[in-house]
Amino acid sequence: MGHSQKESVWGSCNLFSRKAILFSLTLLVFFNFHLKDTQAHPLSPPTELFAQDTPNDHGKSISLNWNLSPDDGKVEGGVLSYEILRSTGLQGVFEVVGSVPAGTKEFTDQDTALVNSHNYYYKSRAVAVTDSAVSEIFGPVTPSGQWFHTGKTSVFVATLLFCLIIIVAISYAKRGGKLYIRPLAGINAVDEAIGRATEMGQPILFVPGLGEAYEVATIAAFTILGRVARKTAEYQSRLIVPAYYPMVMVVSQEVVKSAYMDVGRPDIYNEKDIFFVTQEQFPYAAAVNGIMLRERPAANFYLGKFYAESLMLAETGFLAGSIQIAGTDEPIQIPFFVAACDYVLIGEELYAASAYLSRDPVQLGTLKGQDWNKLAIVILVGLGILTATLGFAWFINLFNVNI
């Protein structure tokens, strides 16, 4: 009876209604299974969330890291990304402040809204296609600025030691201690080159390089320029200084003018011979080459910062038959100068020139201090090789710099 009744109910439906019932049943079965599957394997959250103030910065930054969700890396239903949520209170509203793709275990919160010395709480949320899972709350964390960059500790200690050794060497020199400084052919040749130019009645060309006035190499060049200018003032030779920067021109004019005044010949100082050329590298090289070929200076000085134009200048000077003295702290340009110049101040010798020229005990003391520091570095390098060979990594780690 029941059977016939059922049949009658089913039979009473039209074709469209039957299809609709079958479709509804199918959907119900599908979602039921899916729901059961989800309930059986809910998305796992990231674990071990940890947050701390970002070290060695000016604050307003918090670094977070966590362990990946076990569902990270799954092809179906796996984690797609991690969202980082932040709140100012444990019970407060957590807002998303950033998101990183799956597989990422860290995030740095550098939101401008972060305020130093305020507490913050964090959560990390694993996000899948249809699901998400939130980690436990971590906090409070307080961002703050540091007053010392601990990653630069080794640099700080080395700087202090270096300065200390220099000061000891200066005081030793002041007390009349004997300091041997090996002679530098390039420095000794300065007077010879100026004398030759004077005898030939030709000008002297001083090229202070492509460095700005505040660069150490250019400042060292000014020192030598002062010495050259004194000699040219004494011998009444013409000194030409083409400058790459207006500021270099201004300082060069002041240095040369002072040298002429010191010698008592301000009347022969010619400001027009110390001039600005251009701030473009190769036009500058072309202009200086032109000066060499037109004015035919008997002595050329290339001292300061030089780049690709070094060989163009030095080779033109060589072809013009000038005696040439060069010095730069650019290691790549040194071989070019060696190939084309008569004398070369290699690297640090450029900086040492002022001490050589002045023979001032204090200056010589700094030079000696440099040598002692070099000796210390050689010893440390030797110790580094020895300890690394013996497997003691701690010694090398002492010198790590983490900027």
Binding site: I219, M247, E254, P283, Q370
Partner: protein, 206 residues
């Protein structure tokens, strides 16, 4: 007193900027950026002096040296054209006359001068690599091996590559590092001398 004030400024600024390097705070960064801005401002203040110096020098050359008059004239003409075309606010935009002159006149001229470097290298290399002594012969041999790296050598290519790699990364690198350490120490020592006022030639008189 004229010399003392700059020396005090150098002393204070030098110490402040050394300390600033080790302080990561916001204030420290501000001081560093502020100092850099000042360097730019001072550089810009010197620019009119540079332009005046250039114009005076070129004009005097044109007037006093008839042989160089044409070149001085070209230089002054170029300066005037670039200055006039660069006056407009839009002159730095692509397609402006200023940018066209810069890209299609100035840059090719600079590239031409740069390309001349190849000839300078050839003539310098001829002198540098002459086998006049044992050391010069060693240099010649080493340079020959290093240059061969750029040429396919068939079966010995790999051996040559390995040899060149060793030359560049061991003896060459050792010499380079020695130079760099010396330069670094020299630069620091010079900075100490400047900060303490031992080195003051840049101010004019010693």
């Amino acid at each position: 007193m004229r010399r003392q004030i700059p020396l005090y400024i150098v002393l204070v600024c030098g110490i402040v900027f050394v300390i600033q390097f080790f302080i990561p705070s916001h204030e420290s960064e501000f001081i560093f950026e502020y100092g850099q801005d000042w360097v730019m401002v001072i550089g810009i203040l010197a620019l009119p002096l540079g332009i005046w110096s250039y114009l005076r020098k070129t004009w005097l050359t044109a007037v006093k040296k008839p042989k160089e008059r044409f070149f001085a004239g070209v230089s002054l003409f170029g300066f005037a054209i670039m200055m006039l075309t660069g006056l407009k606010r839009e002159s730095l935009m692509a397609g402006s006359l200023y940018m066209e002159l810069f890209e299609y006149v100035l840059i090719p001229i600079q590239a031409t001068i740069f390309s001349l470097l190849a000839f300078y290298i050839a003539s310098a290399a001829y002198r540098a690599f002459r086998a006049r002594s044992v050391i010069a012969t060693m240099l010649l041999g080493t340079a020959f091996i290093v240059m061969l790296r750029l040429i396919p050598l068939g079966p010995i290519s790999d051996v040559n590559q390995a040899l060149v790699g060793w030359i560049l990364s061991v003896p060459n690198m050792a010499a380079k590092r020695g130079l760099l350490i010396g330069i670094g120490l020299g630069a620091i020592a010079t900075c100490i001398k400047i900060i303490l006022g031992i080195e003051r030639t840049y101010l004019g008189r010693d």
